[in-house]
């Protein structure tokens, strides 16, 4: 495009240079108008092609983005996978709570039992211990349920990562909505971190040192 325009502008410049010393006639003006019109016609034709090419590229990009968004499987994630993961987590909470209650009931029954009659006490302890063993079977199911939730998270992570790479996106700060913002502010204000993984929080002996004003003691917590 640049070369074509330069050639036509050169023609106009050359014409004006040649005619600079002469009187300008109507024919000269018409000739100059024709040259200028020819030049602009080519210029606009070239520009049309460039704009078309750029619009085509934008269209291709939009189509590619639509394909990437479709590959995210947003509807499936929102309507199937996340609700299913939520149900699994609910089931985990219920099963662990039920198991804990069962185990505590057994412990409370043993603690409250009269141990004067040794045979009766042993029979009670045996019975309660069997119930404790049975209650502990929740751990197997819980492990399987957690594996399903982890699979869902990996599914989402994989697709979001692919999408982020496709659009070459960068993280921006901020919150999705007011509710998320309020939750974050509450956590910061009330110092809510939740349970820590091994090595992240401090151990009881460090807590004791901090309360006594000795912050130099190192943790004995294993990581």
């Amino acid at each position: 495009m640049t070369v074509a325009n330069t050639q036509h502008f050169d023609r106009i410049a050359e014409y004006l240079r040649l005619k600079r010393q002469d009187d300008v006639s109507l024919a000269d003006v018409v000739a100059l108008a024709e040259i200028t019109a020819e030049s602009l016609q080519t210029f606009f034709e070239t520009m049309d092609a460039a704009i078309y090419r750029e619009l085509r590229e934008i269209s291709d990009y939009i189509n590619a983005m639509k394909a990437e968004i479709a590959a995210l499987g947003v509807h499936e994630i929102r309507e199937t996978r996340i609700p299913a993961a939520g149900q699994e987590l609910d089931a985990i909470v219920k099963s662990t709570e039920a198991a804990t209650n069962t185990i505590m009931e057994c412990a409370e029954a043993v603690m409250a039992a009269d141990s004067k009659d040794a045979d009766a006490f042993k029979a009670l302890v045996d019975e309660k211990m069997m119930i404790v063993f049975e209650a502990c079977s929740f751990q197997d199911l819980t492990g399987q349920r957690i594996a399903k939730v982890v699979e869902t998270l990996q599914h989402i992570e994989g697709r979001v990562s692919r999408f982020a790479a496709a659009v070459n996106t960068k993280d921006i700060g901020g919150f999705v909505d007011e509710q998320e913002k309020r939750r974050a502010e509450r956590k910061a204000k009330l110092i809510l971190h939740g349970p820590q993984l091994d090595g992240e929080g401090i151990a009881q002996d460090e807590v004791d040192s901090l309360l006594k004003g000795d912050a130099t003691k190192k943790s004995s917590r294993k990581t």
């Binding site: 110092i191 809510l192 939740g194 349970p195 820590q196 401090i202 807590v207 309360l211």
Partner: protein, 127 residues
């Protein structure tokens, strides 16, 4: 050192299971008068109705956290001297420092055992 085993104790936690565990541990230690509340505001209401000899509170609860409860208790002239033990999974240094600054008497990190609870209660009443 003698601890009054008849003193009322208030256990504050939003998990019934944890309340039950602490209640059983306290029972083993000889404490019989144990009440419970599911968050800071419920605890505060109970504390204004009944005089407790000790409060054992979780940190992370809604709507009122144990940290907010501690600060409310320390600002209330009628409750300010109540011994307060935080029992929580919040184990960051800044939590312990904030609780200490707010006037906590002792701080137990979950998970904990009966011996730790016993030791910390004894330490509070030895002050």
């Amino acid at each position: 050192m003698t601890i009054d085993l008849t003193m009322p104790i208030l256990v504050v936690d939003d998990y019934n299971t944890m309340i039950r565990i602490i209640r059983n541990l306290l029972k083993q230690l000889g404490f019989e008068d144990v009440d419970d509340a599911s968050d800071g505001s419920a605890a505060l209401a109970k504390m204004r109705e009944k005089k407790y000899g000790l409060v054992i509170s979780d940190w992370n609860m809604e709507p009122m956290t144990g940290y907010e409860l501690l600060k409310e208790v320390r600002q209330d002239p009628g409750l300010a001297k109540t011994p307060f033990i935080m029992v929580t999974a919040e184990s960051k240094t800044e939590n312990v420092i904030a609780a200490k600054k707010a006037g906590v008497n002792n701080y137990i990190v979950k998970p904990f055992n009966a011996q730790t609870l016993k030791t910390k209660i004894e330490a509070v009443f030895a002050e």
